[in-house]
Symmetry: C2
Subunit: 555 residues, 2 copies
Amino acid sequence: MTVQIQPKKKAQNLSSLQRARLEYSPQYPSILEDVSILDFKPDGKISLDDEIAKIFPHLHTGVLESIVLGEPIDHPLKIGVVLSGGQAPGGHNVISGIFDACKKVHPDSELIGFLDGPKGIIDNQWCEITQDFLKVFRNQGGFDSIGSGRVKIESEEQLLSALRTVQEHKLDGLVIIGGDDSNTNAAFLSEFFLEHGCSTSVVGIPKTIDGDLQNQFIEISFGFDTACRTYSEIIGNLERDAISAKKYYYFIKLMGRAASHITLECALQTHPNLTFIGEELLKEHKSLWQVIQEIADLIVLRKKEGKEYGIILIPEGIIEFLSDVQLLISELNVLLHANEDLIQRQDRIERVEQLLSLSAASLFSSFPEKIQSQLLLDRDPHGNIQVSKIETERLLMQMTAKELEKRKQEGEWDGTFSPQAFFCGYEGRSALPSNFDCNYAYSLGRLACALIGRKKTGFIASILNLSQPVLAWKPVVVPLPCMMHFEARKGVMKAVIKKTLLDCDGKLFCEFLKNRTAWKLEDSYTQPGPIQFYGSSELTDKPVFTVQSKSVSSV
Amino acid sequence: MTVQIQPKKKAQNLSSLQRARLEYSPQYPSILEDVSILDFKPDGKISLDDEIAKIFPHLHTGVLESIVLGEPIDHPLKIGVVLSGGQAPGGHNVISGIFDACKKVHPDSELIGFLDGPKGIIDNQWCEITQDFLKVFRNQGGFDSIGSGRVKIESEEQLLSALRTVQEHKLDGLVIIGGDDSNTNAAFLSEFFLEHGCSTSVVGIPKTIDGDLQNQFIEISFGFDTACRTYSEIIGNLERDAISAKKYYYFIKLMGRAASHITLECALQTHPNLTFIGEELLKEHKSLWQVIQEIADLIVLRKKEGKEYGIILIPEGIIEFLSDVQLLISELNVLLHANEDLIQRQDRIERVEQLLSLSAASLFSSFPEKIQSQLLLDRDPHGNIQVSKIETERLLMQMTAKELEKRKQEGEWDGTFSPQAFFCGYEGRSALPSNFDCNYAYSLGRLACALIGRKKTGFIASILNLSQPVLAWKPVVVPLPCMMHFEARKGVMKAVIKKTLLDCDGKLFCEFLKNRTAWKLEDSYTQPGPIQFYGSSELTDKPVFTVQSKSVSSV
C-alpha cells in the first residue's frame, strides 16, 4: 500500500536572513552543470579486502570509475531521497541539488522524499518534492522538510520492505544521506537490490557534523564546516568574556561523539588555554586523574601570572578514552550484571566500593555523589552503564574543584576557582549552512543524480579539492565497499565503513602541538564571530582549517 | 601616587572577521560630526521629586538642556573613561567615539582609561588611550581593552580617592560606562566633585545587555541588540533542530537578571512554544506549581498532536517572581538564621520540612534533592539563601518530569519526555557588536565628549529615534537625577536610578500576547541566523523589535 503524506505547508515565519538565503544560488563545479551527459568509465583498480568483496558479489567493488562525457540521457528519472541520523547543515541542499539536476535531465523527472528517515522507506511513507515544496527549504538548516530518523534497514524483513517500496515507485535511484552507519547500510541495500533483480541504484552522500566520515576519498562530510563555525563563534565569545571579566573558567564540551575532530578544529579557530583530544589521551594511556592534574596545573600556573580565568575544551567522547574510567566501567558492568539486587540497596554506593578492585574503587569514590548514582542507575536496555549520559564538563569541574581544595591545603595554590559549564551541541546541527556547506551539499546532490542516470549503484558521491575555489572542485564516485573493513560490533565481526578518528600524526594535530604550550599562558584568544554569508570571499566562502589542510588528493 | 600601567600589547590573533570589523566606520548623526561647536541651552523643565533634588544641591537637576550650535572650543580636553559592571557589546566603541571626538576638538586632547572598573579610579590605575592602542579594539566585543569591575565608588573614602585621582590628572571629564547602579553612582560623584570645588564633569553612558536601563529618555542601552541577536541565533538553531529530530524539549534559560526584556525580545524573534515572563508571573501571583502545570499541559497537548518536542524560554530571574518560592525562601532565611546548627545535621532536610509552614514544606519537598541541599548550603555572606545559584532550567525540567510521571499514572499522558537544558548567557555579553550597537555606542561616546567640552556634569548621554536611520537619530542629554527615585536597599531608602522591568501593558508584550497561543501548537519557529555585518541594510542595520517599537519620542 502506498501512503502519500503531504507535509503541512510551512508557515511563512522566515526571518530576513532566511528569506535572503532562499535567493542564494549554490555554486558547483562546471562539470555538474548538465548531468545528463555525464558517464562513468572504469579507471584502474582499488585495493579491496577479499573478504569484503565476497560480501558484495553483485557490486563492481574493485574498480574505480572516473567521470567522462557521454551520450545525453533523454528520459525522465524517478528518484527517492532519505535523510538518515542526526542533523547536519546542508541536508536540504543535497535534496535541491538532486531535484534541480534531475529536472534538467528531463522536466518529467520526479523526486520523492521518504519521511522521518529510513523508516519512511520501510513503511512507504513519502511525499512528492516539487519546486514549490523546496521554495522554503533552499539553503536552510534542519532536516524538517522530510524529517530524519535513526531506524536502520538491516534485517531481512526491513530489506524486503525497502525492496517493495522502491519497486512500487519504480525508482531509478535512491539517495541515502547519512553517516558511516547509514552508508554501510546503503552498500548492503544496493547488493540486496541487485541480488533480487531490482535495478534501483543506491547512492550514498557523506553527512555528519562529527567529521569522522573522512578518508582518502572523502575530504570531509557536509555539515562539519557550519557546525565548527557555529561552535567557534560561541567559544570565541566566551574567550572574550573571560579575558574581560577575568573571573571565570569556562569548561566547554563539544559534540562529536567518540572523535575529537570538532574539538581540534575549534581549538585551531579559537586558541583556548587547554584542549583535550580523546585520541591523544588514548594513545598515551592517560587517566582521568591525569586529566584533572593537568587542569589543576594550568589553573595554578595561570594564577601565578595573576590570571584566574581561562578556556578549556573537552570533546564529548573524552571519558571513553581514559584508561582508569574504562577499567571502572567494565568492572561496574560485570558487578551490576552479577548482583542484580545491588542497586536496590540503600548502601549501594558503599557496597560497590567494597566490591570493586582497589584502583577502580579509588576512582569511583573520587566521583561526586550525583555521578556515582547516575552510573549505577541510568543503564541502557542491555543493563550497561551509559557513559554518554555523564555530563563530563561538570564532572571535570567538580573534580578539579576538589583537587584545587587539596592544593590549597598544601599551600600550593591560593586562589578562587569559578567554573562555568557550557555544551556546544545541538545548536550547531541545524544552523543555516555556510556558503561552503551550501555549495558542497548541493554539488553532491547533483553528482548523485548523475550516478543514478547511468544506473550506477553502491557508490558514494564525493568531491575532492575542496580547499580550492568551487570551479576547481573535483567530483569523484567511490564504490562503498572500498571504504569498509571488519569491526567487532556487539561481539560479532561485521563489515562496516570505518569511522575515522583523529590522526595524532596528522597535519592539523601537528599544527595544534606547535601552539598549545604558548596558548596555555598567553591569552592568544581568537574570536571568529558569526558566520557571514555576504561580503568578501575571505569572510564567506573559505572552509575551515580541516578542509584547507587537505592537499590535492589524487585517487 | 600616579601609577601608569600600560597593558600588554594585544597579540595579533585576530580572525578574518575581526580584522574586517576593525575597518568598519561607525555611523553617527551628522550633528555629532564636530562636537567642538556643540553647546547646550536650557529648554524647559523636567518634573523631579523634591526630595531627590535636595540630594543634589549643586547639580542643575530640574532643567532640560537641548543641543545648540555655539562658539567652537579650541583647547585640548583631558578625559578619563571607565567601564563598570558586566560586559556589553559596544563598550570599545564608546571609547573610540570619545577618542575620535576629542582629538577632533584638539589634536592635543588626551584620553586615559581607568583599569578594571571604578577600582581603577580609586587606586589611580590607568593607561593612556592612543590611536595605536585603539587599533585592535575598534568595533570589537569585550571589555578587555581596559577591563571592567564591580567595585563601586560609594563610601566617603572612595569618593575622596576618586576626587584625588581626577584632580591629579586635571581631568576635564570622566565618562562612566555602566548600568543603573553605575549611573546612580555617577550622579553622586558629580555632586561630590562640585561640592568639593572640582570642575571635572561626570558623564554617564547607558550600558547593559539586560535592557532594564530604559525610560522616557533612554530607548535602550547599548549591547542589548547584539546580545538578543546572539541568543536568538542559538534559539532559532535549537528550534530547527527540535522540529527536525522531533524528540527533544529544549528548556532555554536567558540572561537578564530580574527583568525579562531579553526573553521577550528573543521570543518575538523566534516564536517558541512557551515563554515565561517574570513580570507577568508576578502580576498574576503565579506559583512555581502553576508554572510546572503550564509546562506539563503544553507537553500533554502537543503529544495529542503527535509532537513530542518543543522550545521553552525561561528568564534568568523567574524564580524570584513566584509567590510560593518567595514564601519558601523567606521562611528558610528565618529558619536558618534562628537555627544555626540545623545545617550541620545529617537529617537537615527532614528537620527543615518539619519546621516550615505546610505550604512551604510542600514546595520544598517537591524539589529534587540536589536543589534542596543547594538551598540549605549555598548561602551568601549574610547567611541568606542564594536564589540566583539555582539552575532554574534544570529545576523546571526535573519537576516537569515528576509531574508528567504523575499524569502518566493517571492515564492522562503516555509519551516520552526528553528534555535538554541550555543557558543563553555569557556568550552574548562579549560578542562582536552588531552594526547597530557599533553605531549607537560610538555616537554616545561622541556625545559624551560634547558634554565634557561644555563642562556639563551629572548628565547621561542618550539618543532617541533609534528605530530610524542613523542620520535621523536625535542625541539628547539628561540630568541623571531625573531618572532617580527612592527605593529600599537593604532596609534603607536610597535614591537610585530606577531599573525598568518589563511593562505588561506595553506594545511589545501585547504583540507577544496576540501570538503566543498560536505558537503553542503550531510550530511557527523562526530562525534569525547569525548576525550579519555585510549585505543589505535590512539584514545588517535594523535593530531588534524593542527598538523598532519605540515611537518617535518627544522629550
